[in-house]
Symmetry: C2
Subunit: 230 residues, 2 copies
């Protein structure tokens, strides 16, 4: 089957580094689904506002080979699991699947939260989430069970500041939404799994900002935030 | 993106008529996922038995056009909804999505229950179900909400018989699993939605049997069951 791109995702994730590893209900990160001209038909969305959640089927960018086994980052990056037992991109067909919360419709675009996708990700299908067939709250999560609540604490220590107000004093004017989003992303621990060097400084781009941080024990320290250089 | 078929579904649904309209946890219908030679690699399933549920992404057969609006059978077949607000096959990319229960692995095949797919359906991806990102038990189900518990009563009145034992007396030797599966399918009301003629006799093929039934008010009456003529 030849898939047609029906829409593209637009969000602050301009950098692969930092994309959450799964969609999560509580994610504050907004994504705009912008339909391609051929599929930008208002009637095709009729009734969609009755649903609180949607499915997105999308394509992993830059993946062109698969591997029977992969090393899930959450297992430390050294344990090999079957690719069909993971949500890894390195699958025979590099399709991603994310349940997202529907926030609204704006100028024919869908606004959703919780999509774990890169800015510019091609979308192949959008379906309503049906709780009676899609929801299995007691499902057994295999090796992902132990890691599902894994989260870091995030401390903002940007040039001695810790609050939005203070950030503003430094002329950053960081919107609260953006700060919440960055905090959320860092709490998910974007580091490659096999790295645990408390001295190391990481840089991540999000929504026009470049964030510098380090991770010591279970705490992320945000050290610098600046407008991303184009 | 060009999708490769990684496996085919094998089950008793040799007839499009009778396929449940969504996957359901309680479905007794078994499907065998048979991998294509290239993807029949035991290591690719390593760790999958730790999951109770899986996602299948599959292709609707014989669909080669889409429509911005469709008439969901559960709304009586007269109300038009946007295709992205439905799970209709007539989508830009005719992909199906089903959560299924993993029953086991047998000779390299996956055995699952609850797949709402035709025998021979091409499978494009298999992913583990992750309750912490995929399960939203309180999701609002739009227009599907009212119809989710819709179910008919099923009465077996095959030549005066009502039990398996009696069926056997007539030389049918209908396995209990098959009878359970047929009962389950008929309870879902396989009739086209706009039909409500109590005199009409319907025929459905399932797992080598042809079943004749009629529907009066909310009761399905199974009238005849015979080996399907090849």
């Amino acid at each position: 089957m030849e898939l047609k791109v029906i829409a593209y995702a637009r969000n602050g994730h301009t950098d692969k580094f930092g994309i959450p590893r799964q969609s999560r209900e509580e994610s504050p990160i907004l994504t705009r689904i912008v339909f391609e001209p051929e599929y930008n038909v208002p009637e095709a969305l009729r009734g969609i506002e009755g649903y609180s959640h949607l499915w997105l089927i999308w394509g992993f960018s830059e993946v062109d080979s698969w591997s029977p086994t992969v090393r899930p980052p959450r297992l430390g990056g050294n344990t090999r699991m079957g690719v069909f037992a993971t949500r890894s991109p390195y699958r025979p067909n590099p399709l991603g699947l994310s349940s997202v919360r529907l926030i609204g419709i704006e100028n024919g675009d869908l606004i959703v939260s919780g999509a774990d996708v890169l800015d510019g990700t091609p979308i192949y299908d959008i379906k309503p989430y049906l709780s009676f067939s899609d929801s299995h709250p007691d499902a057994k999560n295999g090796f992902a069970e132990e890691t599902k609540d894994y989260q870091l604490e995030v401390k903002w220590q940007v040039e001695g500041t810790t609050s939005i107000a203070e950030d503003k004093r430094y002329g950053l004017g960081l919107p609260r939404d953006t700060k919440d989003a960055i905090t959320y992303i860092l709490a998910q621990d974007p580091r490659p799994a096999y790295q645990d060097d408390p001295e190391r400084e990481y840089k991540m781009d999000y929504d026009g900002y470049t964030i510098t941080f380090s991770v010591k024990k279970q705490v992320v320290v945000v050290k610098k935030i600046e407008k991303t250089k184009k």
